[in-house]
Each structure stands twice: as structure tokens, then as C-alpha cells.
Point group: C2
Chain length 242, copies 2
Amino acid sequence: MSSLVCSLPSVSGTTTTPANDSPDLPRSFEYLVYPAFEPLDFSGPFDALNYVGSLYKLDIHLISETLDPVTTRPSSAGMIPQNSSTFFQILPTTTLTTAPDLDVLIVPGGIGSRSPYLNSTIHFIRDRYPKLKYLLSVCTGALLCSKSGVLDGRNATTNKRSYKSITATNDKVHWVPEARWVTDGNIWTTSGVSSGIDGMLALIRCIYGDDVVTNVVNSMEYERHVDAHYDPFAAVWNTTSA
Amino acid sequence: MSSLVCSLPSVSGTTTTPANDSPDLPRSFEYLVYPAFEPLDFSGPFDALNYVGSLYKLDIHLISETLDPVTTRPSSAGMIPQNSSTFFQILPTTTLTTAPDLDVLIVPGGIGSRSPYLNSTIHFIRDRYPKLKYLLSVCTGALLCSKSGVLDGRNATTNKRSYKSITATNDKVHWVPEARWVTDGNIWTTSGVSSGIDGMLALIRCIYGDDVVTNVVNSMEYERHVDAHYDPFAAVWNTTSA
């Protein structure tokens, strides 16, 4: 099973709050956003970082292929069987070609992660990974990371409802069928949708310590899952028979 | 203590899935968005509705004073002590003056809910409430509902970290200091931030039944709180001494 130990020696296993100006602390957190990303994959971890931003200097950038608004609406009408209109549009702050250096890259999932038109986004993950302090994927964001090659030979997990279809695309990854989130080195992958909140909170604890994550969850009024191996949805979606 | 009974007789207490074309089902869900709203207050309940939209015809509108992008960034730099840049901008779909008839109005909270410049938003809540099937506030969104007068004489709750300051503004409301969410007639108010997910899931169960809410939570991989009275954060923020 995957390790839960923090990957940066400077903060490994810390349970105290690091100095606000510690050079080991990440400053730049960047989200990849693309058409039909999942709202909660993005905003759950975002909200947790928002609270950390009141305690530590950090900047969040939203990266997309262009600066045009990015919609959560699936491009294929077939994805909306009731012809419902349930989407919003968000504004990126930078592009794949203009994105500044980053410390932490966050890759949300969503129906759009299956799009065949995300090659430049996949190449961005591959090209930027060597300089990252951490890479965090949420839900089917793991599919984009997998396609970039950075998960080859690593332990990783993904959305459990889509587990079999996602994991079938890359047998070089050591897919974990039952986990809320998985860490392998500096790569963190979470299960579906809401599990991104727990994965990000675990990463926040890893980086900033217990005092900070307690402050964040009390402010969010969120009872976080602290056991990465706890995953009731593995049984719901029968992933362990994969 | 508040009632948990659904307020629409047609679905009251239902545990089965209503017909997709039932005239009693709400079709139009509208979010009020304003500067410095809380990301998760908005997107947690939004994501749950997103899944319902694949099963039932529903439309979500984002209402703001104008069609300009709405930022989650606090207008006062004093709200960002570390000078962090942790915000995003979202595009409204309609305005307070052009919003269509709506069935369900959702009012997220956030630092911006304390703004003295939201009178037109507060008047919108007051003017639209009589025709709503449901009103749901998340976190300090209850402050805007309270200022509109629709909570007078009702049971309601709000963010627990801000409980004392919010409740002190209106003694005509029967504030509940310990609750994940509170229902009173067709008005649902939730506690802070992440509790909006549980409040919306309870409303979804109320409207669509157990089968639908189970489908939604399994897709979101979210273990919802099913007891509206369960509130560990009341003790954290010492609300019961208010």
C-alpha cells in the first residue's frame, strides 16, 4: 500500500506549524481547468487552500489552453440526458504557454478529462512535473496524469465509479482499487469528487502541520477523513474485482 | 427543534423516486452570487444538483447585480492578511432585474455577505421568496436572508465561527446554535461552508427521494451527514453559550 509520509524532508512528518517564511513552503498553487471539469473537484480543494492563504503567503493560478471562459458543461449533449442546464463558466488567470513557475499542480477530474483534445494539457503536466514540489490529481484528473506518463510505476487511485475504465487505459500504473487517496513520492492522487477535499487537507497537513489543518477544517466545518485507506465507495462500485 | 419534514405535500416523506415529469418538481434553481462569496458554499451544493440534472430536467442560473464576472476575492485587502492571491472569477448567467421565475433560490455565504452594498440582493430575496418552492441558505448566506426579513419568526442556523456576530443582528429569528442544517417550512438554512453539501443533499432527498440522493452521494463519493442536529462545530466555536 502507498506511503502516507510527506515527501518533502523539510516537512516530513511534521505536526507543528512551520515558519511563515520557510523557503521549503510552496508559494504557487496552480489548477488546470478544461471544458467539463467537475465543479467540486476544483472548488473543494480550492476552498481549503483559500483558508491557508490567510495564514501563509500563497498564490493560486487557474491554467487553461486560452484565457477564454472555461465551462463545466459537457461538450456532448449526450452527456446531459435530461437536457438540463447545470453548469457555470470560470475565468482562467493564465495559459499553458504563459503559466509561471509553479510549486504545486492540481488536476481536477470531470467528464471532460476523457476528451481527446487535451494533448497540450497532458504535455503541460509531463513538462512541468520535474520542477514541482507536489502534484495532486482529483477524481479522473488521474487519467490526464496517467496519459502524461508521470504515474508510470507509481501507486495511484482515481474515481471509483469510473475505476475500471480509467485503470484499463494504463497498465504501467500501480492502481489502488480501495483508497480515499494515495501518495507516492510527491504525487498525490485522490478518489472521486469529494475525496479531493480530504486529499488536499492531508497535503495541507503534510506541508503546514496539524495546527493549520485543524484551523482549516474548523473554519470549513468539515469532518475530514484522516485514513487514506478508508474507502466505502470501493465496495459500492466493486473496484476490488478489477 | 426544527422540523425535518419536507414542505411540499406531493413529496413529503417520500422514499421513492417521483416521476421525472411530476409538475410538483422544481425546475429552476438559482444561485445568488456576489463579490467574496465562499467557493465551497456555492460549488458543493452545485455539484450535487449537477448529478440530479442527469436524472431530472433542471436549470441552474447564477444571478448577480450585473453580468460582470464575480470574484471570490474580498474587496478589502485587510481580509487577506498574507497578501495571498487565492480567488477565482465566475460568470453570472442573469441579473437581479432579468432573472426568470425560479423554484429554488440558493444563497451562499462568504466574507462578502457582510458587505453594506448588497441591498438590491437582499430586496431580491424578499421580493422573490413568496413564489419560491424552497429557499436554501448556506453559511453566512443566512445573514442576507435575515436582512431580507424572510427569517423573522423562523428557526434558522448559520456559520458557527461567525454565529454570535451574525445572530446578534436579528433577534426576530429563532437562531439554532447547534445544527448541521435547519428546516422551517420551505426555508432551509445550513451551518458553515461544507454543511451546505449536507443541507442540499437533504433537500434533494426531500424532493426526489432516497434512490436519487443515494445515486448522487455514490457518484460524488461523499459520506453525507444525515442527522440535521449533529454539529460538532457548535462546541468548537462555543455557540451554545450565545
